[in-house]
Amino acid sequence: MAALNTTHSKAEIQRPVTNLFVLSSLLVALFLNGLPWEGIWLALRPDFVALVLLYWCTHNPWRIGIGLSWLVGIFADVTDASLFGQHALAYTLLAFGGVALHRRLQMFDLRRQTIQVFGILVLTYAAYALIHWQVNGRAEWLYFLGCLTSTFLWTPLSMMFNAIRQVRGDSERRHLERRP
């Protein structure tokens, strides 16, 4: 109950995020996805872009929604050398999941959020794998490991983002108070 209250009260004091913050978080996520992961680490790599998109879609759904996720998906397709639309479709589904469930997720504490997030991520990964299976005629079960690691990363990532937004809000408020 305490956790529920804190998340809720946080949401109330948090200032609206700047576009710069959203953009830079997405760029960092693309960068992390682009690191030279190899072998089993590649299979275990969490999809940072999906997580960041999901965070914004659930915490700020009126600004970051399905359209932006689609666009980010197109860029992910270019960096991944996958077919155009493969990531885009997966991220569109992800964003829809986030936007549709954002009210529920904001009410939940992190543990219960994680369960919901796992569902959304499985859907996203399944969409991606399904397209791959349709085009290339085989599925790779190892790929779904990334879905698990992404889910584990949800809690630290949302805590980090919440903290950053909190700090920014505080410093700006202090800045305003200091001015006459």
Binding site: G34, P36, G39, I74, F84, L89, N136
Partner: protein, 306 residues
């Protein structure tokens, strides 16, 4: 409180999430269809790749730093080992040089004999060195990106090898980069010959990291463990005589007309950082249109076009 007003704005602003979902999903599927079937979007892709390339380059930095740190450590701690290695390499070089001289003499002789016999001269090939910038981006594909692109006159279809054997083939060219599909990519085909007896066959990638397979190999074929497979040069994509793979295991199941042959690639398909791009070979004369070609040959050709 903020939530309700904000979401009120959201609904006023545009179509509902479901409409957006359907719209963007359809758009993605359309793009997928166009990209998979017609490949019209390559220019768009290379334009967008210019936008994302700063991020990609930044992402390679940790890897480069890691390598440099490793190199630094080696130079600090293992000078003895390096000196020994240097010695060994010098000896190897002398041996190789002697063999190279012999080979040049043989080449000369071969050329003369070919002139006498009125056969076409086998064109030599030149190479350019490129560095692997990015490894494969997802678990499904066996592809790498290398540092030479259209600006260095790299073309689609050129063969990529390392010092030991074939590594892959260029399948996409960007302005400053190109994408190499490794021979271990699923269904990737290379026409090969068994070095020992000249038996011609086709080698397929299996989608696994270190594995290739020979399909359609009759169970009675004269082939043993540890046989070396070299490119046959048939149909002109690969220069002849470059080592490709070594046979690892042969399973002959009497219930099945073909033997299951597993091979290991010889080239460092997932090892080195530097690769050689072979400049394109001379074009062979056009294949006669209605020639009754063997089906495997044809399949290999179409796969490689992809």
């Amino acid at each position: 409180m903020i939530d309700s007003t904000q979401s009120f704005r959201f609904f006023n602003r545009g179509p509902s999430p479901v409409v957006r979902l359907v719209f963007f999903a359809m758009l993605s599927l359309l793009l997928l269809f166009i990209d998979a079937r017609f490949r019209y979007l390559e220019s768009t892709r290379s334009a967008l790749s210019v936008l994302v390339s700063p991020i990609q380059q930044l992402a390679t930095l940790p890897g480069i730093l890691w390598h440099q740190a490793g190199d630094f450590y080696i130079t600090q701690s293992a000078q003895n080992k390096l000196a020994k290695e240097n010695d060994a390499m010098l000896k190897q070089h002398q041996l190789d040089a002697a063999q190279l001289l012999q080979m040049q003499a043989l080449q000369q002789e071969n050329q003369q004999i070919r002139t006498l016999a009125d056969l076409p001269q086998p064109g030599g090939f030149t190479t350019q060195l490129a560095e692997i910038l990015y490894a494969e981006r997802n678990v499904f594909q066996r592809k790498v990106l290398i540092s030479k692109g259209a600006s260095a006159d790299v073309q689609i279809g050129q063969v990529v090898m390392d010092d030991v054997g074939i590594v892959g083939q260029i399948t996409r060219v960007y302005p400053g980069l190109s994408e190499v599909t490794l021979i271990t990519e699923k269904d990737y085909a290379v026409p090969v010959q068994v070095l020992r007896n000249g038996l011609r066959t086709i080698l397929f990638g299996s989608g696994d990291i270190g594995q290739l397979s020979l399909r359609y190999m009759p169970a009675s074929a004269d082939i043993h463990d540890d046989d070396i497979l070299i490119t046959s040069g048939i149909d002109g994509t690969y220069p002849p005589g470059i080592p490709v793979a070594k046979i690892l295991k042969i399973e002959r199941d009497p219930a099945y007309p073909f033997a299951r042959v597993t091979c290991l690639p010889l080239g460092g398909v997932d090892k080195h950082r530097h690769l050689l791009i072979l400049s394109s070979l001379e074009k062979l004369p056009e294949r006669p249109g209605e020639a009754p070609a063997s089906t495997t040959d044809k399949r290999a050709k179409t796969k490689r076009m992809n």
